[in-house]
Amino acid sequence: MELKFSKFNHYTYIDKTETLLLYNKLRNTMGYLQPISLRNLPLSIDTVPEKMMGRLRDHGFVVPASIDESIQGDDLHEKIINSSSLHFTILTSESCNFGCQYCFDDFQRSHIKESVIQDLITYAKRNIGQYTEMNVAWFGGEPLLARDSLYTLSEAFIDICRKTSRRYSASITTNGYLLDYETFKRLLRYRVFEYIITIDGTAKTHNVSRPLKNGGGTFHKIIENLRCIRDHVKSQQFRIVLRTNITTDVLENLHDYLSFVQEEFGKDNRFTYLFSPVYDWGGDRINAMRGKLIDSMSDVYATLAEGDWQLNMSALQGQLSHAICSYAQKNTYTVNTLGDVFLCPQLQEYPIGKLINGKLEIDEYKAAYWYSLSAKAIEGCKSCTDYSICKGKSCVRNLLFFNKNPMDPAQLNCGREYAYLNDVLKVLYKMNKDSFIEL
């Protein structure tokens, strides 16, 4: 049978070891091989030794020449978009105890209204049968400022899912300041399995970029909370994603931060790490620190790849599989404290509906506009090999750009990790080699 390399393969060499890393975007698989006769890219299918060919085929890096993989890409896209899970992102509080330097939010609102809590419960009671499972992302503001509401909703959702034999799980994006031992234990009981906590480098940088509203430092309290969880919680069912927003200041101190987290949490695989530039999501505060925004993540990934650190980077690996933003899936709704419904928390200027009397009143045209979106009108998209799996849905905010006339392709937000795929693969190979298949 005539064979070819998958069009979704991405290749990069690790210079000194002459190891070739492969990543297949369709199958989300990573592999490595010692090239021997494969020293030059692009690879030629004729130069692959027979023994290696079998493994490349088994893992989808090589496919029959006769197939059009775009069809599989389309199919995967459809499966992801047409999710049968109910996913709520719930803003339990639109207030915050932090005054982050780069935050876009002015926190004019308070905690979730009692009527919205009841509407969410009623909706779940009446509609859970349409879905195979339920997943909630607790979000804010700072969601733990309204802990009682979060607890009330969790108890109700778990009860509803238990009675109807649906799976239930949750995650939380919190600044970590209020995440003491008792709160953590209770959240774990409420099936909150993923915790996304931002630490912007060492105390020196973190306390400047993420202070309390009154200007007080937050680093030590968050770290104390995390140490307590590390030392006293035995469960292996959760993971804590330590996310670092990179500015020029944080980048300067990145070595110190990595040494710190290596020392504190490096041996605990429940902790994992993400790095992201500070984005301009709007608002006034970002203007004061515009000079500290970074242009590229290359230096961050290079630092990670070159040092002696050995950290669990499964969160970064997870980002690779996100050719489509999780908020782009159907049945995925963000609900704010007033019951307004959005596609994602970053799109609050673009409501698609309202939660009223236990019903989701969705503007069908607005929702359909997004779900049916095809980015074919964009020249850059048409020629992209990832088009069939992405279709412009790597970020829901792209919707705003598509709405503009004329559309501006330069504004199109492609998968961020894809832009640094060579760097990310090198980091993952160094830190999480077990995730790579030996080919």
Binding site: A124, K125, R126, I128, G129, Q130, I160, K163, T164, R166
Partner: protein
């Protein structure tokens, strides 16, 4: 009767609805289309091994859990 109530509520659960044990709740808020309504009737019939006559459905005799239990109890005695 208590056992009947419990089983009727479980019929809702098995169809993916969670109904409060409260007779002020209109079950048509849950069974808001003919398919789910008929599915519920079939579930009740199968659970209690009874056959609910069509006229009970047409007359709107079953608007809350208490109504459903009354019908079930009556048919079980026949």
């Amino acid at each position: 009767m208590e056992d009947t109530r419990k089983k009727v509520i479980e019929c809702f659960n098995s169809l993916g609805f969670v109904v409060d044990d409260d007779d002020t709740v209109d079950i048509l808020d849950y069974l808001d289309n003919s398919i789910t309504y008929i599915s519920f009737i079939v579930e009740v019939e199968s659970t209690f091994d009874i056959e609910i006559p069509d006229e009970y459905l047409l007359q709107g005799r079953m608007r809350n859990i208490g109504n459903v239990c009354d019908v079930v109890e009556m048919l079980k005695k026949e």
